[in-house]
Structure formats: C-alpha cells, structure tokens
Symmetry: C2
Subunit: 385 residues, 2 copies
C-alpha cells in the first residue's frame, strides 16, 4: 500500500528538478557539478576552529530559542556596520538556516487561502514554503531587457489582490543575479505601507555582489512600525552551507512571536554552530572579499566564453554566483540539462526548477576556481555552439 | 506600534510557563535548576570527538534532506537490534531534533480544522505543534490510580471524533513517567487501523526506563501498510540535548513526502552532528546504561524523601527522568513553583505547563547526581511538609 500525506498542500509539493537530475548522476565520478548553489571549498579553518573549541568546552546543552545573546548582538552590530541602521539584539532571531528563517517567517504571516506575490524565476523553496501553508503564489516575471534582468514594479504592484498577505522578494536573486536598487526598494516599502502588506525579503546573497560592495537592503528603509521580516544566512557569504545557520531581522514587537514559533519548530540551535557564526562575523570580512574576488574571476571566464556564442543569451548577473542563460532552440530546460549531463559531464540546473519564468534557461553555479569553470565551459562548448 | 502575526493559530500560541518562570531567575546564581528536561552533564567526550574530526575533515557542505545514508543505516540497525523489527534506511528520516521530527510529522498529517487526540499531561510542544497548524487537541487524562499513572484506553478511543486525523501519544510520557505496555500498544494500533487514523508516537524516552531495559515501542507492531510516524531523538539517551538531532521512523512509502517537506523546512543537517550521532549509536550503549543507573539512584533519593511527606502524592515513574508530584493544598502550580523558587532556590516546572490535567502538580527533573538532588530535596522539605 502506498501512503500519502493527509494534507493536500503537502501532496501537491513537487520534488526539486535539480535534485532529480543530480540523483540521476549518483555513482558517476566524471561529473563537474555546477548545479547546486554552494561554494566549492570547505568553511575556512578559523571558523571551524571556533566550533571545535566550543565542543571542547562542553557547550552541548539547550540554548535560547532566539539564539545565544552574543550571536544576536554580533548580528545586530554586523548589520549596523554594513547599513545605516540601528538594530539591537531584540531585532534578531537566529535560525537553523536561511530556509528555516523563511519557513518561520511564513508560518507567522501566511494563512491558508492567502496569496503571496513573488518575483520569479526564483529559488524554488521560496514559493514552496508558502504553498506548504496552503497559500497561492502570484509570480511576477523578472525579464531580461537590454542585457539586464529587470522587474516591472507596476506589474508587481498590480499582482497584489485583496487576499494578498505578503510580498516575498529575493534580491539579489537566485537564479538570475537580478538586484533591486535603493529607489526601487523604497517604492516597494511605500506600497506595502499603503496596502498594509507584509514584506518578506530574502537577502542571503547580499555580500556576493559584483558592481558594488554589498547589495541594497530593505533594512535601512524600514522602521519598528513596518510589517517586515528579512531573511539572511551564513551559507553563501562565509561558505557555511552545511552548518545550517541563518537569521531573521524583524521589528522588536514581533520577536516574542518568533520565539514561540521557533520553540514549536526546532526549539534551538547547537551552540558550537552559533559560536562559529560569531567568529565568521567578527573575523570573516577578508574571507568574504577574497571569495567575491574569486567568483568575479570565474564570472569573467563565463562571460568571455558566452559572449562568443551567438546561440547563448546571458544577461549579466549583478550579484549571487550563478550564470542564468538561455540557449536558442532550447525550450525544455530539463531535457537539455539531461543531454548536457550525458554528453559533457557538466551538471547544470534546469531553469524550469525556478518556475515557469525560468523555462528555456539553465543555471551554472560559478562559485569555484576559474580553471574548473573553464574546463566545464570547454566541455559545454559543443552543446552551446 | 505592536505587530502581531497574521495567523490566528500563531496569535493564540502561549509561551512556555517553564520558560516564564526560569526567565524570572535570570541573574540568580543560587538556583538549583531542575525545571528543564536535560541531563546535568555535557555529551560524552567520544561523541564530541567524532564531531570535531568531521569538522577537521571539512564536512561543511550541504547534505541529503533525509540525512546521510550512514546515519540512516546506523539508525535502522540500532532499532532492529533493540526491537523485533526489520527496518531499512528507507524507513528513517533524520531530523534536526525530536521537535523538528514532530513538526515534520504533523505538517504531513494534520490540517486546519482537524482534531488530534493526545493523552495528557504532556510535553507542551506536542499539542502546540498541532495547534500551530490550526488543529484542535482533544486531551485524554493520564491519571494516578493506586500509586501508578494510568490511561483508560476506552476513554482514549471515545475521544476520537469524525474529524480526528491522528492519535498523538508520548510514551514513556514527559512529565509523568507513564508508559504503555505492549498489549495496550497493540490495542491502540488495532483501533487506528479500524478507524484509519494516523498514529504519531513520541518515543524519545524509550531508553530511560526503570522497570525493564527499554520501553515498549509501537515500531515492532506496525507494518508498511500502517499509517504511522514515530519520533525519536538523541537528546535524552546520549545527553545530546543541544545538538539538535532526532529521527522519524515511517513506512517506506511516506519517506519521499518527508524528504520534500524536510527540504522546505530546514533542508538538511550539519554533517558533523550526524557523524556524532553515528558514534553515539555505535559506541554509546555503556553510556546509556550508566546514565539510567545514575538516574535510578537520583530517583531513589526522591522516592525516599517524598514517601515521608504526607502532603506529597508521587505516583512512581516507570520511565523518563521526572518526578511529577502533587502537594496537598496546592491548586495553582505556577504560583507554588514561584514560591518554591523564591523561598528555596529550587527551580521546578509548574504542572500547568503540561496542560490542565497537570494543574496542581510540579515536575522535578532528576537527571543529575544524587547529592545535588538530595541538596535540592532538603531545601524543598519545609515547603512540602
């Protein structure tokens, strides 16, 4: 007998197309895997050492739901240093991943029957985490225009219906590298205030930016009276994907709700992981800069290769570490990614994984050494020419 | 402006009375804290070493949603060794805590408007995790009778209504130490089969048992055709509360659903924590036995003290590490726990934290060295005499 989840919202969830494709390559040792959104190197040694020291000290007991106060303070200081804002620890909830931060935020805000408006293509977990709560996603396309990704704000605002409870915005965007500028963020906040909508912003790529030092953030345009939740994570900036450490920034008056919801989802986070996070914040700036420089070199290799391929359209990413490109004649991205995997051994993510707006595209993660990216590109060349 | 969560189910959640009381003692250094459900000692060194080795090896990348295969296999082997059952890795989903296992199980099964039937008093997170999904809890009392905690199964079955989707049973029970026997478990399974109800069993205390070696489990009475999810955790058996590592046992056909729901809740678990879990399973049996012996000694101290106090009624726990006792004349457990804290410096959990059925009771965690428990008891004596 096959058993099914009782809940229709859960029955309707689709497994990741990226994972489906990568599962098909299990056991193959010749694959260059550029399908996941993960830096190629382990977490820096000084961050790992901090976790080991905490384990040695016996920090193996329960911790507060919202995170240890030292990390919440360090995060407030970090955000205050990066942006023109004065957050305190009471604005911060530490979470066991950016994904958990997103799930927690949505559990507070989004009810069955709500609509959530989200620019797309987008990391599939964003819409899915709202759908799991019984919400419907209204997708607003991010489109390439004159070699740049663009979101039409009028279209975004027009998508908001009476049953819309939140805007869910991922900027810098995975997979496109699209990024809101400050003026656009202000317009979105004004709209949310007028319509009393929640703003849920996923800013996990805010340190991986190529045309300035850090991405514009909603955080320095919001007040304690605004309905907002900002998601961030240690994963991308400090190469800590596997550690499962993220945080929410929120108005102080919402923190006691987050504390209760955290208790009934995961309760708390391993102290050594949190202490590693403090070390990343306090000693990790050089690593962040070196990483971005490394990704910029890899991006240049992609741009140089793709610019010589007339079939490839590649709107340049301003941020994140993905090349999201289309290939003339390709309208089934999963089938093409499968063909690419079989014929070249390069693992790309199919654009359809990021919503219907991503169909026809492929995502290549270039968070790796330039020589590896160049080797992958040379293997891809016959398929893209 | 004070902001509130949009969702009524979240607005209705109450913060923990245990946490409320313990927060009132922050800064006090003279308190003997017996209010939380946590062993007094850090995780054994050999388990901590395994995590540090994995960190040294650079195991800092994303992991599979369901846990690393080595841990899933180790868990299947562990369960097969303990019970008369033949699980495989496809029956196991590793989760970032028992709490997460519970949240994940309920997300699959419990929809808005459902009723979930649960014996009570019970760990407050069990009902709350269902309530957060919009479900209603029907509590069936576990009562003291002839010095023992008892659940009337006819009463349990009578509480199941047409909109009941699941039985949610915590045996061995926190806070009472009540435990189902094998025959009772079989009757519950028969009833669930007949009524096509899901059985969600929280068995996290299955190794902390005083009248036999391990607690009866539903697992060896269920088949691949049964609708069940069993929650377990490394927290209590191996003193790993802070690590956040648990697991679900489920029919194989449900595992792909759990995989997707895990992806959209927390995605995966830090590999060094999982490797520590393997080490606990493979090398931790002596530690489990020593711990139970230690708790038995502490329990004997409690029993010896309470048996001489006519005002105290203390039905003996068969399992877990809590003394759940009533005091003649006490009908407001929070007020009394506050008084106990102020006058004796001993931190007890108020029984009301575990549901209305717990009112009038207090919970003392005796997962500590006997001399500490004896010191706490001597401080409590004037208040209980």
């Amino acid at each position: 007998m096959t058993l099914y989840a009782n809940r229709p919202a859960v029955q309707a969830l689709q497994p990741s197309l990226i994972r489906k494709l990568s599962n098909s390559a299990i056991g193959r040792t010749d694959v260059i895997p550029l399908w996941f959104g993960e830096p190629d190197k382990p977490t820096p040694e000084f961050i790992r050492q901090a976790a080991k020291d905490a384990i040695d000290e016996g920090q193996t007991f329960y911790q507060p739901n919202l995170g240890i106060i030292e990390l919440r303070l360090a995060l407030a200081n970090y955000m205050n240093g990066l942006y023109d804002v004065r957050l305190s620890a009471e604005n911060i909830a530490v979470t066991p991943s950016g994904m958990s931060a997103l799930a927690l935020a949505l559990q507070c805000i989004v009810a069955q029957g709500d609509t959530v408006v989200a620019p797309s293509p987008v990391w599939p977990n964003l819409p899915a985490a709202a759908e799991i709560l019984g919400a419907t996603i209204a997708r607003v396309p991010i489109r390439p225009s004159c070699g740049k990704w663009q979101l039409d704000l009028d279209e975004l605002f027009a998508a908001c219906a009476p049953n819309t409870s939140a805007l869910l915005i991922n900027s810098p965007n995975n997979p496109t590298g699209w990024m809101l500028d400050d003026a656009e963020q202000q317009m979105i906040i004004d709209f949310c205030r007028e319509r009393e909508l929640w703003l849920i912003a996923d800013e996990v790529y805010n340190r991986i930016v190529y045309d300035r030092e850090y991405a514009p953030s909603f955080v320095d345009k919001l007040t304690e009276d605004d309905k907002y939740l900002i998601i961030n994570s240690f994963s991308k900036s400090w190469a800590m994907t596997g550690w499962r450490l993220g945080w929410l920034t929120a108005p102080k008056s919402l923190i006691s709700t987050l504390e209760i919801v955290a208790e009934f989802n995961y309760s708390c986070i391993f102290a050594p992981v949190q202490i590693a996070g403090i070390t990343a914040l306090e000693q990790g700036e050089a690593f962040v800069r070196q990483s971005v420089a490394r990704y910029r070199t890899a991006l240049a290799a992609v741009e140089s290769c793709f610019s010589g391929l007339p079939r490839v359209e590649f709107p340049a990413p301003r941020a994140a570490f993905y090349a999201f490109f289309s290939v003339d004649g390709v309208d089934d991205s999963y089938a093409f990614a499968e063909k690419v995997l079989q014929e070249s051994g390069v693992g790309l993510a199919p654009g359809a994984a990021f919503g219907p707006e991503g169909e026809g595209y492929l995502r290549l993660c270039f968070a790796a050494e330039a020589p590896l990216i160049e080797r992958a590109l040379s293997k891809l060349l016959p398929l893209l020419s």
